[in-house]
Symmetry: C2
Subunit: 661 residues, 2 copies
């Protein structure tokens, strides 16, 4: 198989350097906008204060303007008497001037009349008509903000390149500035390519996937100050691509393409770019990200990005954002943080690796857990926080080593609740009810995955319903098995009714797990490590031994045994859509989707929590909700009450093996 060899791969920094050198990206111009239109625009000039602020000597309190020499000897026992000459309100220009032994009433914010040098507060005087008794001496300057003491005329207040937020705008308003010069927004158009992708909203034929990158790139650029448009899908045709790109160059500063995943298509994009412009970068020395092409035509920028969404995303953040910020003129830095790598990473030298990671709190820092990057996966677009760059020359990153993480978005709040483990609909509702939905990250990795995540320090909460075969106990025996007795506690959760979900009216007449062995029944299974999967496997083993079958082979008889999904709703949906006839799940989802349900058992759904995380606000809220589970069940609705029930010990530590009910 012959394939185009990419020559002279460059690393990300070199790619950025080449673009800067050749194109010198800069904003397309400057325009004046009013303050009310300036939010999130980029300042095109340094702003020096045109005025002093406050603009005049101003009283900071309600009281009386006095000359400090007049009240120098006053105290509680021997007040000084002054004559009140008048009053100044905020906004008034005083006409009075100070005389010997007199005073003027001033409100907070009022201008100090000429000649007075301090203000004595209301609470330190007594007034009798026009006579003021002053009980306290005020040194010069007391209770006065002098003109320019906050900001002086001529002070540099905002740098050119400032991305204007509400605070900046308020400051500018206070300085009397109602119009600012900002950079015009650069314009970009984004095309997708690839015979395998179709537009979101259209029908998905077999073998096709929906286009992610068009939306990803366009909205990423919009969030970074670019006027970006999605230009649609380009066919696998040299002439069409060339014409569309050439047209686009007339209107836009930047033209983006992405995909396809095949080498053939990136060749096509490369040929078009090279025929209408000059290639600056043909391939990055990164994994992933290699099929990145950067070219210029008439000082405009052409970028072809990788087809896999996560690869595309990482190159957007690592390379494109650095170029885009020059086009916008904004002075931001690409967001990075330092984090600790909790597990060793081995790689070959010769390529820089970009590894998506999920951040979790660790001692006083963040830990960056590599996220397995299946080609084309899209859930990491929201579940990973950024990526680690492991340089070309490095062959191993040791456990505990400090690495730099490039963030996909703002740093996750340290208050984020990482829920890693078993999936449950009631838990979702509890998080929502307690205001934790926005700050929770829920990873459905199954009960076993949750135990491992706690062991690694990754999870705040691991929901679990693992049944121990030997003892018949849920969850408690595993504390010892995983060696977590010192490190974590099990908090008693609730019971949930699980069973077999079947189609409405139970068309295949399924009554027990034994029916899963029938050739006319196809099941949908849960992923390995999930509590329900463990339950099924135990049940199948029992059936095997009853029937005299080989317990290690019985799963091969079950149609659809390898058809795995990660959530209860996914089990129900598969049955609803006819992709399977039966599956195990919590009964709640059957009713939700209008399916039939054959109850099997109440299982104990508990929460494994690292001791150190017990002090976390969000963890406290969750445990508190468990302690008041009956109220929670009242709030979330009657459907839940049929399939979930509180235990006496809900929300409290579970130490003994509860009897199965």
């Amino acid at each position: 198989m012959s394939r185009k060899i990419f020559h002279a791969l460059v690393d990300p920094d070199e790619a950025i350097r080449l673009v800067i050198e050749k194109i010198n990206p800069r904003p397309p111009g400057v325009e004046k906008v009013s303050l009310s239109n300036a939010l999130h625009r980029v300042l095109a000039k340094d702003v020096y204060s045109p005025i002093d602020h406050p603009p005049f000597d101003r009283s900071e309190v309600d009281g009386y303007a006095v000359r400090s020499v007049d009240v120098e000897w006053s105290d509680e026992l021997s007040p000084v008497y002054l004559k009140i000459k008048g009053r100044v309100k905020p906004g008034e220009k005083p006409v009075l001037e100070a005389g010997v032994k007199d005073a003027v009433e001033v409100a907070t914010g009022a201008m100090i009349p000429r000649g007075y040098d301090s203000v004595v507060m209301e609470e330190h005087v007594e007034r009798d008509e026009s006579v003021l008794k002053v009980y306290r001496a005020t040194p010069p300057g007391e209770n006065i903000s002098t003109a320019g003491s906050d900001i002086s005329s001529g002070d540099l207040v905002l740098f050119k390149g400032t991305l204007l937020n509400h605070g900046h705008l308020a400051l500018l308003a206070g300085l009397g500035i109602n119009e600012v010069e900002v950079f015009k927004k650069p314009k970009a158009i984004v095309f997708s390519t690839g015979e395998e992708v179709v537009e979101p909203g259209s029908i998905l034929e077999a073998g096709k996937v929906y286009d992610v990158n068009g939306t990803l790139i366009t909205s990423y650029l919009m969030e970074h100050g670019v006027e970006a448009y999605y230009g649609g899908l380009l066919p696998d045709d040299y002439d069409v691509i060339r014409n569309r790109v050439q047209d686009a160059l007339k209107k836009y500063d930047m033209v983006f393409t992405s995909g396809g995943t095949s080498a053939g298509l990136s060749d096509l994009v490369y040929r078009v770019f090279s025929d209408i412009g000059e290639i600056l970068v043909h391939g990055l020395k990164t994994k992933p990200g290699k099929p990145t092409v950067i070219a210029t035509s008439n000082k405009k920028l052409l970028i072809g990005l990788p087809g896999f969404p996560l690869s595309c995303y990482m190159i957007l953040v690592r390379v494109v954002s650095e170029i885009v910020k020059l086009y916008t003129g904004a002075l931001y830095n690409v967001k990075t943080i330092d984090a600790v790598i909790p597990i060793q990473i081995r790689k070959q030298v010769g390529k820089t690796w970009l590894i998506p990671v999920m951040l979790t709190e660790s001692e006083n820092n963040y830990a960056a857990y590599p996220v397995s990057m299946s080609s084309g996966a899209i859930s990491p677009l929201i579940l990973s926080d950024g990526f680690v760059e492991v340089k070309e020359s490095v062959d191993v990153v040791m456990e505990g080593e400090q690495v730099r993480v490039y963030l996909f978005r703002d740093l996750p709040e340290k208050t984020r609740l990482n829920v890693i483990g078993s999936n449950d609909p009631l838990l979702t509702e509890i998080l929502r009810l307690k205001g934790l939905a926005s700050t929770s990250r829920i990873l459905n990795v199954g009960s076993t995955g949750g135990w491992k995540a706690v062991a690694r320090g990754e999870a705040d909460v691991a929901p679990t319903h693992l049944l121990d075969e030997e003892t018949g106990c849920y969850n408690t025996p595993f504390l010892k098995k995983y060696g977590l007795e010192d490190k974590a506690v099990l908090i008693r959760g609730y019971d949930r009714l699980i069973g077999i979900i079947v189609g409405k009216g139970n068309p295949k007449n399924i009554t027990s797990i034994e029916d899963f062995l029938r050739t006319d029944v196809r099941i949908v299974n849960r992923s390995k490590g999930s509590g329900i999967r463990v339950y099924l496997d135990m049940a199948l083993k029992r059936i095997a031994s009853l029937k005299g079958l080989d317990p290690s082979k019985i799963s091969k008889i079950v149609n659809g045994y390898t058809y795995e999904v990660k959530t209860h709703t996914a089990v129900a949906t598969a049955i609803k859509q006819g992709r399977a006839d039966a599956g195990l799940a919590v009964g709640y989802v059957a009713e939700l989707l209008g399916l039939d349900f054959i109850p099997l058992t109440w299982e104990e759904y508990d929460f494994l929590i690292p001791r150190k995380r017990l002090v976390k606000d969000s963890v406290i809220k969750l445990i508190d909700a468990l302690k008041h589970l009956d109220e929670v069940l009242d709030e979330v609705g009657p459907l839940f009450k049929k399939y979930f029930r509180a235990s006496e010990n809900s929300g409290f530590e579970k130490v003994t093996c509860f009897e199965k009910t």
Copy 2:
């Protein structure tokens, strides 16, 4: 003086609770928008995945789809031979099915034909026409992402209330969703009041200040998902305010007013609110923030906010944002972090204090330094990071105590460079040149202030040019005086030429500091603690002793001695605008503003840096720039070269007392 007494002041949480109870704020409705219009909108419904992702079993590599049973025994020495039956490209629906001992070529992303259960990678085979030699066994599932393994149909992927960013939109696109239901934006109008405020852009008469709150509230609401408009200034007139507010209630969900600083005006707002609606909150039990009024009319919200910008800002963040988020339906939490209070705070019980703070790194945490809040100051709008709430019942917060900080905006990056101390134009340019402008916070508190900030652990860098009277040395003697020898190092900066700045053509014929004693000369001074102020005071003392005057009184003879500004440009601007005749500053600013300059001395401008901060990226960059100061001077332009010069040791530790040159 009679003043309205506020009854039943409530704390912020109670105020929020009252609003929720009475108004039950919620989004004004739901609308469908296309993905391209959904950025930063709020999802109005949970999103469950309508498809499996990937939608089919998909190859993760370039290679050959095989049945694992066929290659079970293959290895490097004994390859298995398979017949190549065809090829599947990405996007194609395979027509083939697996047969015994055959294989199909698949590209990354291609659909796996029915019957094959693994993919052997290109690098583990050899191909000869239609015969494939397989050198490695592949277990079932190898190199295949199975349908739904990333996301299963029916999975809850996004919560109702999610504020959609580029990642969410990309995920939705990948699931084929091209339209989402989002909440309609709530609408608000913002009025300012107060006889003392005028609109930005208009002429500032004596005693007036520019309105800050109109812009602050409007843009804050816009940033938080509200369609907010500024309605202008309302006069101090009951009927006008009432009519405008009543009109506004027809169109808007929320009506805001702010100000005035006088009790009279907040009474007016209160009267209007109470006459057209029901008062929910009349005064907060906070300091500041007391004159906050909340009312409702026809389930709509009326809020009167305090007049002082910083008070207004804190109540916006503490109270209003919690209400606004219910109107928008967004699931965010008001941003808070825990920080350590580095200095003791004493207060009276009975009121909750809101104290603006600046965050700086401390060990593994943030330290929250209270910012002095002069009434009406506006620089804290951008220089403070948030505020601490000290509860009603607390009378003292101990040094080192952990407190909760409500953030005004995103958490400052830990990489931020806190430059606290002496002001210098060249330093500003160095920061800009080194890409540090956006991440630097520059506080001009004078050299002395910088030393104190280092002692408190607050500054990363304290620029300083303090002359020690006894030794005639710059900066070094103060390491001992401040007891900082172990904690900090002095890095040699550069020399700058300071002198007397006078009007163009030197109209008052000023030739030396002695002329500052003339009655016809008015100076502009720098703030206490600045190096130049110290220099001036020493010069005046010398003159006093030469002239036989009392050195402690000589400053009283100098006109304008108490007219203090914080920056060099502010000195020059004061002279340019005729507010003063002379002042001391670095010569650069004289030339910049076209003024005359009488050189006095080259002073040593150095950088005090805590040892622990020497490892910080931004600090390293700054020191590196100092080491290459000649190059920097070349880049920033010839004007700087006349007034600034590198020393041999620029960028290196300064240990001995350098001779003055």
